[in-house]
Symmetry: C2
Subunit: 298 residues, 2 copies
């Protein structure tokens, strides 16, 4: 397994990786490269003082580093790739945790970069950002989608799969296009909907005298959880996969219009059948143990 | 306080009420009137065998009963009101837990019913239905909206308020119209969106080979939680408040279109600001302790 891991962009995901790696094997060395000026103090507070902070790409000892994990918002990859390609010896494999994959593959190809890159996307997260929120268990039983490139060797794919498996993840392999297609439906569309609902409510709220917050337990709060995700990360996802998201948003709007127009007592039975059908999808997610657990009162 | 409480429609909410009432005062008598043929066995299994089952409205001993709580889907109220009005002596107060209020007020008024009715709506729930899922704590620190009628006496309003407060709820009083306006935003719109998203996904899913469930942890699962609510209850809410819901759905679609069309790199800064703004709403809900708690892995 990897002995010297560099995490670029040390936030909630990075710190969850570090904590889980340390839990499995205390002798692994983890390095952090992060723009936060107080990263060292923050790591100490989060009981991660054994992580070594690097100040710049120049400080990377690439005779040592064997794995680099990029955990920054996806629109920062281009400049990171350029810096990584300037490192003289490339014994490391690069992987990442980005939520879009096709744009990243294109950046890698168009730059004609030589370092080994095996794109991956752990489907795990919470709405909180910052290394302070990382925890062991974030990845347990969740899926990681790996999107190997044309030049990815079987051996590298195996190494990266094995790494994520050691964090208790399940592996799925697909093309970057397929990944973006699936994720636009299971993640990007839900997010654009959440943001838009919160924006709709904010516009109405003036007249509602803060009742929005008080009565949010009726459903609204679920949407704000998703909309509470890291803004920069999501700005980048929306821009990187805008075409798919826009197409899917149009399909959703059509569905919503049909639903809204069907709300008449003549359609009573049909409506009930629709609602029963959607309930089954929930049951399937619960059965697959992908639902998480919601406690109504904190 | 009330000594003999009848709960009509004994589901998740009814059983949560019963359990909380018993916790506070074991000597209160609770009666259940429910269409489930196995209600008695189910109550026993749920450790609620001290609840007395009635088989019909005729069995209501209205010299005893001092509080009736209607916990059925809202479109059943009309027939329940008619049956209650046939009871000869009316020493009881009727309240309810329905998610729409204006239509109920209209039914009560148009029927010229004489029993005392103080409509209420506890904003508390989980996506599971059935008495088996009721629990002490469902109502803790949640709001209950009471919508007194013109003929509601101060004394009855106080009694009903005191009752819900004894279940650890906070009370807010407003008109039924105002209630429906607020709830259409904080609850009904989120629900129609959730159902429509799940329907959109189901149509696409065939091509996605069950990936929908596997990768639902990226956001989709949050929506299925809401869409997993009781179908009949929600069919009735949608029909009872269709006008408000349709109007609000139109506003939401406009907002979503604007958002979707803005996903271009020229709008990068604006987009970031929008996302930062919505994150603040989430923070306000968390601060108001209305957020609940989500555990990503069960």
């Amino acid at each position: 397994m990897f002995k010297n891991i560099l995490i670029i962009g040390f936030g909630m995901i990075g710190s969850s990786i570090a904590k889980t790696v340390f839990k499995n094997n205390k002798s692994t060395n983890i390095y952090a490269l992060d723009k936060s000026p107080s990263i060292k103090e923050r790591l100490k507070k989060a009981k991660l003082s054994s992580v070594t902070c690097l100040k710049s790409f120049g400080e990377i000892d690439n005779s040592k580093i064997d794995l680099i994990i990029i955990c920054t918002p996806v629109l920062q990859y281009k400049s990171i790739f350029q810096k990584l390609s300037q490192l003289k010896r490339n014994n490391f494999i690069v992987t990442d945790v980005g939520s879009t994959k096709h744009n990243i593959e294109k950046i890698y190809k168009s730059g004609n970069f030589k370092f080994r890159f095996v794109p991956s996307h752990p489907i795990a997260g919470i709405e909180k950002s910052g290394l302070e929120y990382g925890f062991v268990g974030l990845f347990d039983n969740r899926y990681n989608i790996i999107c190997p490139l044309k030049n990815t060797s079987k051996s590298d794919l195996n190494k990266i799969s094995k790494f994520w498996r050691s964090l208790s993840m399940k592996i799925d392999v697909m093309t970057s296009k397929e990944h973006d297609h699936v994720l636009s439906l299971t993640s990007h569309l839900p997010h654009i909907i959440s943001y838009s609902l919160v924006l709709t409510a904010m516009k109405k709220e003036k007249s509602l005298n803060s009742k929005l917050v008080k009565f949010s337990a009726g459903g609204f709060r679920d949407f704000t959880r998703v909309a509470g995700s890291d803004p920069e990360m999501w700005r980048d996802i929306f821009l990187a996969n805008s075409h798919q998201i826009q197409k899917l948003t149009d399909s959703f709007i059509k569905e919503l219009k049909i639903f809204s127009q069907s709300l008449t007592s003549q359609n009573s039975d049909k409506l009930l059948k629709k609602l029963e059908m959607t309930k089954k999808v929930r049951n399937r997610i619960v059965k697959a143990r992908q639902a998480g657990k919601f406690i109504p009162n904190d």
